[in-house]
């Protein structure tokens, strides 16, 4: 399905998965804001099916996956994995099939939305394909189980490369590798070794290594100490959520997944929020800012800046805040306000 509402030069086609729960509502918000800003993007919308596609062993169809592969860029709302057997989690399917190896989460204090932490401006980059999430577990004997963490040179180099590339492309000054190599000498040791190798190729970017427990402590005492952080899977999961907490929670934090062949699939970090779905109450900020991440990936920095500013202004103005930010505006009120700021 195509829907075109762009103007200007040759538009770029991007895949859009509205997703489940509040997904469709916040996706509408994004489309509205993007068209108001005259972003030259044509959305190719894909919905999650209701039956398992045998070709993907998941509710995601092969056509959906092909769409992302072809367009190389997409935006995704939350997808709730229906409980039951015989198919894979949707998020896992996307990650595996598209080789989404890095999850990038920018995290910055929103002016006008006060939390206990000021001046946060950091980016977490999480290795997304291996580590503790290898799914390799077994019972050795009754009452004793093992879970295997895998670190490879290839995946570590790839995510480290991306982290430094990101730092350069976004005018960042420093990359911190987060690890626990004092305990996991070989696995985290290999991860660090790869980061160091890549760091040598980027003399203009400062490089440091921080043990994860110390990192947690530093983040909550003074988050402004950090710039770009790169880390293995589990640490990335934990640290990125901690950072989201610093700035006000999941309704606000965008993310972007980087895959093989330059694929970028931006997504809101939050879930499908079934409690407020269909009620026009959801905060579209996280998906909007994910859209902004996507635009930056496409180097449409002017449009990205415009939308980013409009969202921030709407929030700092404080007149049309959704429930999660303590206001009582609807999703559409908030969206209209963003469009007015454009």
């Amino acid at each position: 399905r195509f829907r075109s509402f762009s103007s200007g030069s040759t538009p770029i086609t991007a895949t859009l998965f509205p997703g489940d729960g509040i997904g469709p509502e916040i996706a509408v918000a994004v489309k509205k804001v993007f068209s108001t800003a005259e972003v030259p993007i044509e959305w190719e919308e894909h919905y999650v099916g209701e039956t398992v596609d045998n070709r993907t062993n998941s509710f995601l169809t092969l056509e959906s996956l092909e769409s992302v592969r072809r367009n190389k860029v997409g935006l995704k709302g939350p997808m709730a994995t229906p409980i039951g057997k015989g198919h894979r989690s949707l998020n896992l399917t996307l990650r595996k099939e598209l080789g989404l190896y890095a999850n990038v989460r920018p995290c910055y204090s929103l002016p006008g939305y006060k939390t206990r932490y000021d001046g946060v401006n950091l980016v977490t980059i999480r290795e997304n394909t291996e580590g503790e999430y290898s799914g390799l577990e077994h019972q050795v004997v009754k009452g004793v189980v093992e879970s295997i963490k895998i670190i490879t040179r290839q995946a570590s180099l790839r995510v480290a490369e991306y982290a430094f590339h990101y730092a350069v492309a976004n005018g960042r000054k420093r990359v911190s590798a987060i690890h626990k190599a004092n305990i996991m000498r070989k696995t985290d040791g290999l991860f660090l070794k790869c980061c160091r190798e890549v760091a040598e190729k980027y003399p203009e970017i400062a490089y440091e290594e921080v043990i994860i427990d110390n990192c947690c402590m530093m983040l909550v005492k003074n988050p402004t100490l950090f710039d770009v952080l790169v880390m293995p899977n589990l640490y990335g999961d934990i640290i990125s959520d901690l950072c989201a907490g610093l700035i006000g929670g999941l309704g606000l934090t965008p993310s972007c997944n980087i895959g093989e062949d330059g694929i970028a699939l931006a997504e809101a970090v939050h879930g499908s929020a079934p409690d407020i779905a269909g009620k026009n109450l959801a905060n579209p900020t996280a998906l909007l800012l994910s859209g902004v991440s996507m635009l930056r990936h496409l180097e449409m920095n002017d449009k990205a800046d415009q939308i980013h500013k409009a969202v921030l202004n709407t929030i700092s103005e404080g007149k049309f805040l959704t429930g999660d930010l303590g206001g009582n505006a609807s999703t559409t009120d908030f969206t209209k306000a963003v469009c007015n700021h454009l």
Partner: protein, 342 residues
């Protein structure tokens, strides 16, 4: 009042490991304060350093004999061939429970109020099993081992702690949605033990969400029980929000022995600059020593020490740099002693 059994006043011998870096400075603070109180403890002091390959046998023997040890940090070389002596000690003596008390101190404003969290962490298995190997060049594995035996005993300890200390809630921290078998077993063990304590509320939380909640609504947590690695992160995060690792007490305990040390960053040896300037914060270890005195059934000595330390913090005249002050370790110690002798 505390009615001792005849003979309870006999002094106890405690093994003392000053350790590396700031260790001797902060253990020295404890020695001075104990002497000023005429506390019924004497120390058997051993020179141990993090670069030794093993903890000397005489030290282990001393702890086995005395049952109680007080220690400063032992430096862990990152990525070297030597394994952490801090971990060795815990394993050798089967000190399966690590406890860190993270709480707001009066007179020390932080970003969060009403933090009073006790993190109880499994200390002997999990990610710290030390089982790692290279499968083929560029691919390394690390085994996380979870056993029913260790999960049950840590859960029992956490609930027993909550029960004996009039705590209302125990929260198990896990990632069982991903590590279904390993963290699943841990969680299952906690659930079983919880049934035996109907007076104590039991909660479960996924580790990434836990860290997000810690930085947004920490007052919701009471006692937390965790596998090894998560406990390390949760304790450091909780310590960070409540005032920093320089003030949080803690210890490690097993069936027969206990080692008291700085609660968070127990392996902390500080930067050389802090060692040279002699500005390490002695508060954490002084409060740990108060816990030790209570553990030894010297409750009034414990209270005197704790009250004195808290008064010095509350008055705010003598503080080390990590708390925004300019005082040396010794100046803080002198202030504590002055209060004790007041």
């Amino acid at each position: 009042t505390y009615m001792p059994r005849p003979g309870d006043g006999a002094p106890r011998v405690v093994t003392l490991i000053p350790g590396d870096g700031i260790g001797p400075l902060v253990t020295g603070a404890v020695e001075q304060v104990m002497e000023a109180m005429h506390a019924p403890v004497s120390f058997e002091k051993y020179d141990v350093h993090g670069d030794m390959s093993v903890v000397p046998k005489e030290v282990i023997d001393s702890i086995r004999r005395n049952k109680i040890c007080l220690k400063g940090g032992l430096k862990t070389p990152v990525g070297g061939g030597v394994s952490s002596l801090n971990v060795q000690l815990r394993k050798e003596l089967d000190l399966f429970a690590s406890l860190v008390h993270c709480f707001n101190l009066k007179g020390l404003p932080t970003r969060h109020e009403n933090v009073d969290i006790v993190v109880i962490r499994e200390n002997t298995e999990g990610e710290y099993a030390g089982l790692e190997h290279e499968v083929v060049p560029g691919v390394v594995e690390s085994l996380k081992v979870i056993t029913k035996f260790c999960s049950e005993r840590i859960a029992k300890y956490a609930f027993e702690y909550a029960y004996l200390n009039n705590r209302k809630k125990v929260t198990a921290v896990h990632k069982a949605n991903i590590m279904k078998l390993a963290d699943g077993l841990f969680l299952e063990s906690c659930r079983e033990v919880a049934k035996k304590y109907p007076g104590i509320q039991f909660d479960e939380i996924i580790v990434d969400n836990c860290c997000m909640q810690l930085v947004s609504k920490p007052e919701q947590f009471d006692v937390m029980v965790t596998p090894n690695l998560y406990g390390n992160l949760v304790a450091n995060t909780a310590a960070g929000i409540a005032g920093g690792n320089g003030v949080m007490p803690g210890g490690n305990v097993g069936q027969d022995h206990a080692i008291f040390e700085q609660g968070a960053s127990a392996g902390n040896v500080g930067k050389q600059k802090m060692v040279d300037r002699k500005t390490a914060n002695p508060v954490a270890l002084l409060l740990s020593s108060s816990m030790m005195l209570r553990h030894l059934h010297f409750p009034s000595f414990a209270d005197r020490l704790e009250t004195a330390v808290k008064r010095v913090i509350e008055e705010g005249k003598y503080r080390t740099k990590d708390l925004g002050g300019t005082n040396t370790t010794q100046e803080v110690v002198d202030a504590v002693i002055a209060v004790i002798q007041d």
